[in-house]
Each structure stands twice: as structure tokens, then as C-alpha cells.
Subunit: 243 residues, 2 copies
DNA sequence: GTTGATTTGTCCGTATGTATA
DNA sequence: GTATACATACGGACAAATCAA
């Protein structure tokens, strides 16, 4: 790839230090800065700004846990392996990040029984307005929040699925207790957008952060829909893998 | 979904008017504002800011082509359908957006023959440093730039593939002229990040925009890799569909 | 061990942009 | 439109830590 042209835009509504922070984060993820960052003066010259402005960007990234600055030595990139989640017919989150054996848990943030909106009803193949259970869940890997999900289940089939999820922290286990020993991913829609307020807070992201959004339906072996859900992944931590 | 909590953050490095512009864009894409925006005063109250700040946000979105303000009548949402691209074993871009029949074309921006870096060599199963053809391409649907791709081909097998792509605007057609009548998607990695400078320019995006990134290998019927590529989609225009 | 070069950390002051009233 | 408060960006200077000659 060509080296990035040093174009930071003024009066764009985004502070220079934040634009530069984003650029540095990008350069790290693209492997341009692998271990150590260039000195502040060099970065300032490259981006065409004052050294203090670069320091602002570095301070933000340090706060974010991306960088670690050491007086007199330099600024270093904190190593953070990216997680790869599989997406396909046999996708289930309990499998977690592919390959990497990691400590993983699901946390129930909130739950409610409510009437299904038209889109949810269509996905679950029930009457619009029929009662559904909504679960708001958070998934952590190695103590780091990686995804936030909103799931819907038919309330007549899966009453009190919230209790079982709260205990087990696993959709797979929860469904098993309702006699669903196996299930399949019917379809997955993938998009990306800026994180909203609640995701920003729950996933501990900084403003402007990106979430990878998957919207999907899981069906039982008979092809009956059991779960309609939207999962939002912190895009700087995970990638999705289709095979 | 719950109504968005009105929390715009100060001293976050992002001007309030831009945060609000992002929120409005989000509300539009989630269908909350489908046709007409609420009055400026109502928005100001909702986000907890001054009316002038909301006007700044609306001005930016109007400039961006998302909104259209009419004197005395209100502010209206310019309709823009989102494109859905399939991802799977039989994925090829010439199929284009699923379902929607649209005018679609591929444009060759640049090409070069160069030694393969280790990652490319591994993906194409050739010796590191062996010559590869690199194609930089842009895809448009209905005259709107939707994706930017960087592709690599083994230069000994696919010499002058650039010429054929430039003529046909299609990878499928180009490969066919080399005797590859059919091919399969071996694997796809999906991630999301802020658009870099060149993508910003080529896809005509505004700073801070998001790209959906797919990295993949296409193989011929014998399982031999033929193409290693990264495609970057404008995230506000497209979603990916795995089935 | 000393010196000098390099690099991050902190202080000053000033000008401009952003947001409110 | 005007006034006020605060955040952003710049420029310079110096202190503190590190490293190598």
C-alpha cells in the first residue's frame, strides 16, 4: 500500500488530535507501526501539526489502551491480538474466537417480555404483536468486552430463558434446556456503523468507534426459527471469518 | 430498540454538531427518521444542545447529500436504498447486489507487476518475491462508487489480466479468458475500519466514514488459488449477506 | 562515570474555533 | 449580532529519563 498522504483536515468538526489518533490507530492495524511509534517530532512533521497536537492524539490512544509511552525511551504499541469469530451455518458464540483458547463469558444485562415488532415477528415466523422475550447480553473474552447482543425468542416456547442464560452465560446451553440440542444459522446480514451511546458504554469504546453488526436468525433442525438477534462487535478487536 | 439517550459528549475531540450529525445519520439508517426530520427546536432539546448547534449538523448533512431542507416546510430525508452483497462459496462480484437489478461496472484505476509480499505469496501458494499482478479497481452501482478493491494474481499464469479487466470490467470474464471457467470463494475475513485517504477520495466519502473490509482468496475448481484480494465497501451504502 | 543526543513530560502564553446565553 | 466560557491548536522553553559514544 502507498504511504498515507499527510492530510488532516481543519474545521471539519473533528479535532486534529482525534483525526491523528485515528490515523495512528489505522497505521497500527495495517502493520505500519508494529512495535514502536516514530518520535513525536517526526509524527508532527508528517501530519503537518504541532508536537502538542500529536501528544494529544497519543494521550487519547494511551487512555484507550492502544499505546504505552515511556519517558526518554519512546512510545510503544501495546500488543493486542485480534479475535476472529466464525460466521456460517454452524455458527454459535460458545465456540468463541476461532482457534484461540480463551476465557469467555456471557453476561445478561437486561431482559423483558414484550410484543414483537413486525420485523421480529417475520423473522421468528410468529404473529406480529405476539409476546417475545428480549435478552440484552454482553460477551467478554479474557475480561475484555467484545460484543453486545440483542436477542428475541418466542415467549411461549422459551419462557424464562433469561434465567437459564443468566446462569449459564450461553445461548447454546439455554436452548438445550428447552430441548433444542442443535441449531443452525439460517442467514446473516453484516454491516458496520459508528457505535451508539449504549454500545459505547457497554463495550468501553471511545467516541467515533466502529461496531461490526451481524443480524441473524438461528433455526432448529426442523427449520423452525428459534432466535432472532443483532450482535454488535467492537470492530477494533474482532474480525469475522466466513468459510 | 430503546430510544437513544440524549448524551452528546463534550471535549471528546468531536464537535457537538458533528456528533449530532452522526446521530441523525444513524437514526435515519435505523429507520427512526424515515421521511421528515423533527423541527430543529425539538432536536435541540432532545440532544440537549442549542438550536444553532443542530443547524450546524443539518447544514453538514445537507452538504453531504443526506438531507434536503425546504424553507418553511421542514427538513427531509433523501431516500437511498442500501445494497446487499452476498458472501459465500459462490461469491463473485459480477452478480452484484443481490436481487436488485442495477447498472454496475468495474473500473481499473491502476495496475503493476511487483514481487509478492509474504502474505500475498502464502495466500496464492507461490514463492515469496515471485512476480504478481496487482489491480486497483473501483466498482460502481448506478453511477455511485460503492467499493474499492486491491487484487493480486500470479503474474506467470495471468500476465496482462489488467488489459482484459480494463476492457470487460469483470474479474469473472477476465479469469474466463485464462481458462478459469468457474471459481470458488475459499475463505473471507470481514472487518471494519475508518476509511483511509485514498478510499475517502475514490469512494467520495466524508472524513470519519467507515469501510467494510473483506479479505479473501478465490480458488479454481482444482483448489488452486487464483486471486487474493481486499475489497473495501462504503459501509453507509452496503451490507454483506452470508447464507 | 561523564557527556551529549534523543525522546517524552510539563509549563508558559496566545490565537482561533466551538457552544451557550 | 454581541458577549462570555471553554476547548483546540500553536510556539517556545526547559525538565526528566534513557541510551550510546
Amino acid at each position: 500500500m502507498a504511504k498515507a498522504a499527510s492530510k488532516v483536515e481543519r474545521r471539519s468538526g473533528i479535532a486534529l488530535w482525534r483525526q491523528i489518533a485515528d490515523r495512528i490507530r489505522l497505521a497500527i492495524s495495517s502493520g505500519e507501526f508494529s512495535e514502536r511509534l516514530p518520535p513525536e517530532m517526526e509524527l508532527a512533521e508528517r501530519f503537518g501539526v504541532n508536537r502538542h497536537t500529536v501528544r494529544g492524539a497519543i494521550a487519547a490512544l494511551t487512555q484507550e489502551g492502544v499505546l504505552r509511552a515511556e519517558q526518554g525511551r519512546g512510545t510503544f504499541v501495546k500488543r493486542r491480538r485480534s479475535l476472529s469469530y466464525p460466521v456460517g451455518a454452524r455458527t454459535r458464540f460458545s465456540e468463541g474466537p476461532k482457534g484461540q483458547a480463551r476465557e469467555r463469558r456471557g453476561i445478561l444485562l437486561d431482559h423483558a417480555v414484550e410484543p414483537a415488532d413486525p420485523r421480529t415477528a417475520a423473522a421468528l415466523e410468529i404473529e406480529p404483536g405476539a409476546k417475545v422475550v428480549r435478552l440484552e447480553t454482553l460477551s467478554e473474552a479474557d475480561g475484555r468486552a467484545v460484543s453486545r447482543a440483542t436477542s428475541f425468542f418466542d415467549a411461549t416456547r422459551f419462557a424464562s430463558i433469561d434465567d437459564i442464560y443468566a446462569e449459564s452465560g450461553s445461548i447454546t446451553v439455554a436452548l438445550k434446556s428447552f430441548g433444542i440440542s442443535d441449531y443452525f444459522r439460517h442467514s446473516t446480514q453484516i454491516s458496520a456503523r459508528h457505535a451508539g451511546d449504549t454500545d459505547l458504554a457497554d463495550l468501553k469504546l471511545s467516541p467515533g468507534a466502529i461496531v461490526l453488526v451481524t443480524v441473524y436468525v438461528n433455526v432448529d433442525p426442523d427449520g423452525r426459527p428459534v432466535q432472532f438477534a443483532e450482535t454488535r462487535f467492537a470492530a477494533d478487536l474482532v474480525e469475522l471469518s466466513v468459510s
